[in-house]
């Protein structure tokens, strides 16, 4: 028995001296997005620093909060939605970012806060399957709510999040500048007019399946997922009219054991090169203002950041403040 314990102790000591191979854990949302993050952020980061990156996910806010509160943080860098990042910062769940390591001068100031920097930004865009419409094709958010001209199911993001409520208000004639504070009564009244025709998508893959099969011939989608369908050879209709931007953020959970390495990882991910390469692979827009110059112009033309003329920016700070109130109402309305 004693021998066994000694052997174990020796093995443990060996393992810990051999642990110069530090690793950090990155959690994101899976699918093609996380593949691109692995290839264009994690791989160069490991090559530069020798620190390995373990991929984990999907990100789950309940789990996030539980691990911080329990003091057992197993994620070092997490890709979250930006409105959650702002709320989590206020709740004390995040490490403040170290801007001596992360260079924020080049970053789009819309997506920089004390606790979070943009991971990428994207648009909710109107998408449709042309095979389902013989005559006129949909082109505006108003068409999403026009059951006579464009019959059939429409699909929207299921979770309480910027996008669908804004689209309903814009379709109802609210000017983009007058969106906030959100008139929830008006938004839900508008959504009520098509409620029976809505199929909710909970993840990107589901939204693609619904559109490609024609189960829901039109809807509001993450632009990158429509792009991915096109890249696979499917004919997809995309209208950038009033495309609604929102962003993901990179954050560091409070209590991580790898604070410094986490900051270095974020520095790599938000670098001009990291953002440019990720954008090219995902069709989401870079948040580093120096990235567009590094990109192939043909690819850039497909990204949300060239659609600013018709773009509506979701007010992420407003959402962060009202996340719970809107969320409660949103889910109760869905279940009614």
């Amino acid at each position: 028995m004693k021998h066994m314990l000694t052997a174990l102790a020796v093995a443990g000591a060996l393992a810990s001296t051999g642990a110069q191979a530090q690793t950090i854990t990155f959690s994101s949302w899976g699918g093609t997005t996380q593949d691109a993050q692995t290839e264009h952020w994690a791989a160069p980061f490991t090559a530069d620093t020798g620190i390995g990156v373990v991929q984990d996910g999907p990100t789950d806010y309940g789990k996030f909060q539980a691990m911080v509160e329990a003091g057992a943080v197993s994620w070092d860098v997490v890709d979250v939605e930006f409105d959650f990042a702002l709320q989590a910062g206020q709740m004390g769940l995040l490490e403040p970012l170290d801007f001596d390591i992360i260079d924020k001068d080049q970053l789009d100031p819309r997506f920089v806060s004390d606790y979070a920097v943009g991971s990428f930004y994207y648009s909710f865009t109107l998408g449709w399957n042309p095979a389902n419409f013989s005559g006129a094709q949909p082109s505006t958010f108003a068409d999403l709510f026009d059951l006579e001209a464009f019959p059939g199911k429409r699909t929207f993001y299921a979770w309480s999040h910027p996008g669908v409520i804004e689209a309903a208000l814009l379709a109802d004639g609210v000017a983009p500048d007058d969106l906030y504070p959100l008139d929830l009564d008006r938004a839900f009244a508008k959504l009520d007019t098509i409620k029976d025709e809505i199929i909710w998508w909970e993840g990107g893959a589901q939204s693609q399946l619904l559109l490609a099969s024609g189960e829901a011939p039109l809807g509001l989608f993450w632009n990158g997922r429509l792009y991915a369908l096109e890249a696979e050879g499917l004919e997809v209709g995309i209208s950038w009219d009033h495309n609604i931007t929102a962003a993901d953020a990179l954050v560091v959970p409070k209590g991580t054991n790898n604070r410094e390495a986490a900051m270095q990882f974020i520095a790599e991910a938000t670098s001009a090169r990291g953002q440019a390469d990720f954008a090219a692979a995902s069709a989401y827009a870079p948040i580093n203002l120096a990235s567009p110059d590094l990109m192939d112009p043909a690819i850039r033309a497909t990204l949300p950041d060239v659609q600013t003329a018709v773009q509506v920016n979701a007010d992420l700070a407003y959402w962060a403040e009202n996340r719970e109130a809107i969320g409660n109402r949103w889910y109760a309305w869905q279940a009614q």
């Binding site: 909060q65 889910y331 279940a335």
Partner: protein, 280 residues
Amino acid sequence: MVTIATTQRRRRSGLGMAMPAILLLLAFFVVPVVMLLTRSVTDPEPGLHNYAALLGSPTYGRIFFNTFFVSGLVTLITALIAFPIAWALAIMPRLPAGILFAVILLSMWTNLLTRTYAWMVMLQQTGIINRMLQSIGLIDTPIQLTNNLIGVTIGMVYIMLPFMILPLYGVIRKIDPAILQAAALCGASRMQALVRVLLPLAAPGIASGGLMVFVMSLGYYVTPSLLGGTANMMLAEFIVQQVQSLLNWGMGGAAAFVLLVVTLALYALQLRLFEPRETR
């Protein structure tokens, strides 16, 4: 001869052997559950307001109704389909019965998410089921089979079937087929033999399978969320929304506790009604 003393001794030593398992359960099951329940009366502030909100609102009432209605419907249909299959398995020759068993078990070992996605594809408007119905002329235009009650029911019955078939098979296999001949000799019609003889004998199997299916259905998440619409939202989906999206652990915990109480009550009822008396 086994005396009472030796039985007791055996029981005690059995407890010793089971200690690691009991500790494991305590640490990884009981403690987290108790913590979650505590949050349901402390988060965001102490009191029973989470329960008041949960049980007082018509919206949440509807979610409770959906949960029990869908679970009941799934249990009923599963029992109706499982009974003949279990009967067939019990009287079949060995080889075909083995093959049928393998098919049933194989479906259980395939990833749940994969199976649910497969149903999504099959049930959609351009899916194989709609196309088949159209080609044989039963319908003219595709019918809506997903994102509603039909989709949830089909998906869940499919997943729950083995959990009904196996306990039913266990009970039916022990029934002596001669008993049916005896019933026939006494002048019972086939229907009478089924209702008066076979069903009562198989009742414990139906009860334990039914309870298992019903309780599992109560807490099901993946299938309802992918194949159902929000109009049939079930409690597990509600809990996920509250905890994952809104960080509202108090409300999520309250819903989980109500679910737990209902489950335990059902289990107690089943024990009372169907447990053989001599083991009590």
